[in-house]
Symmetry: C2
Subunit: 233 residues, 2 copies
DNA sequence: CGGCTCCAGATCCTATAGGATATTGCGTAC
DNA sequence: GTACGCAATATCCTATAGGATCTGGAGCCG
């Protein structure tokens, strides 16, 4: 009867663990896609997922429905789900055009609005991922991508426009770029170059580090272009 | 085994109707929210929906999961789903700040890029809703809101950036604004402003198109604010 | 060789049962 | 009169089985 209180956001925030299986499945499958464990176009068999994850169909169906809404999978009626394709060249250009339109603006707004606490958070995030391990691994690159995502999201948050922030988040740009980078075994080469950069940085050699990073970015660009071209066929 | 073909976008476009019950439920519930049949904060009982719609839980759960991803409902673990709240004052301001950043830019891009076919579509959409009834009714306003949504979406489409378009769509701004108010009499002014935008786009004048869109959104915001304030009491 | 039918497999949808959790109401103690 | 604890109910979440429908390929016929 008297349940008209809408101040339940605070109560929800108080719950650390979600206790809902669907969310775990959602994150799991999202991780599988993000880590390129499943390639684009792969069919996601619901029955197989029930066996592999050891749970029933219901939470898996809910997760896949949400993932479809996110654009990460595609539902083909009466045929099942498939992992959606990676970025095409055109989508890549669109995505960066959009980012070039939103993020500089968000940064300027953040510069106008941020107080000392905000700046502290930004600094903390910047410092939160500085140690690149000697042996570059798959996990380390993923951590780097996660850090990058948190950083950009924080800028949007400090801009003070929640609508813009959500809108930007829903592009899943980091996730798509992450998938792109890890396609076709390119990750290993990228990680090797990362190691060169790290080595140069640890040696305290600015010129060498700059050169390594420059060559890494150029190589990365060179690696990405043919991927766009092959996917455009 | 050999199902690695990625050209499935064209195949999907060939299927007009999906034949999947979940989509019908999704549209149905979305319509219930959009028409304010269910008020914000209302609990969406799954068992009740199974009885009312005469179907089982599975498609309803998938629909609700997608609606949650859209931000239209909120899932409270072990308590159920609720219709999400209407816009707060702050969200209202954020939304229009975002629109003022995106849509004028989109209009200018549309003015630059649009060919004759695009311009024909724009004109057709503009002419598709011209008769504003003397006595504004719920139905007429709903038709106006649908037209307004198509118009703004079309501008985003003509801007040629699918990322920006999807990002804008996912704000569901028209849906939220529709829920915010259904008074009457405002349609005529909005249609006049749409016409100014179309004229500028057809002239291929980016600056003029952006300015027209900007003034339209600002005017729209000014029209909605007082209504919003009265509802916030 | 092309076109057709039939069958196996996969998927979607339904139905039902049981465990887990939150809400509600009542009774008791202070 | 108020606060606390406890049981009953309702709801959500999970699990499992089975029918209906569609896809894909093998095999047969013209």
């Amino acid at each position: 009867m008297t349940d008209a209180h809408l101040g339940l956001a605070g109560q929800l925030a108080r719950l650390p663990q979600r206790q809902v299986l669907s969310d775990d499945v959602y994150e799991t499958v999202k991780g599988l896609i993000m880590d390129s464990v499943v390639e684009p176009g792969t069919r996601l068999n619901i029955d197989a997922l029930t066996r592999e994850l050891g749970i029933s169909q219901t939470p898996i169906r809910e997760s896949l429905a949400r993932l479809e809404s996110d654009g990460l999978v595609i539902k083909e009626p009466l045929r099942g789900y498939r992992v959606s394709s990676r970025l095409t060249r055109e989508e890549f250009e669109d995505l960066f055009e959009y980012r070039l339109h939103i993020e500089p603006w968000a940064a300027s707004r953040a510069a106008e609005r941020s107080g000392s606490e905000d700046l502290a958070r930004l600094k903390a995030e910047m410092l939160s991922y500085t140690d690149v391990p000697d042996r570059p691994s798959y996990e380390s690159y993923r951590a780097m991508a996660a850090h990058d995502q948190r950083f950009h999201d924080l800028v949007l948050e400090l801009a003070g426009n929640e609508t813009a922030r959500l809108s930007f988040q829903r592009t899943h740009c980091h996730l798509h770029l992450f998938r792109l980078y890890y396609g076709g075994g390119i990750a290993t080469k990228a990680l090797r170059e990362h190691k060169v950069v790290v080595t140069a940085v640890r040696k305290g050699n600015p010129e060498e580090a700059a050169a390594a990073m420059r060559s890494h970015i150029e190589a990365s660009r060179a690696r990405l272009r043919p991927i766009f071209d092959t996917l455009s066929d």
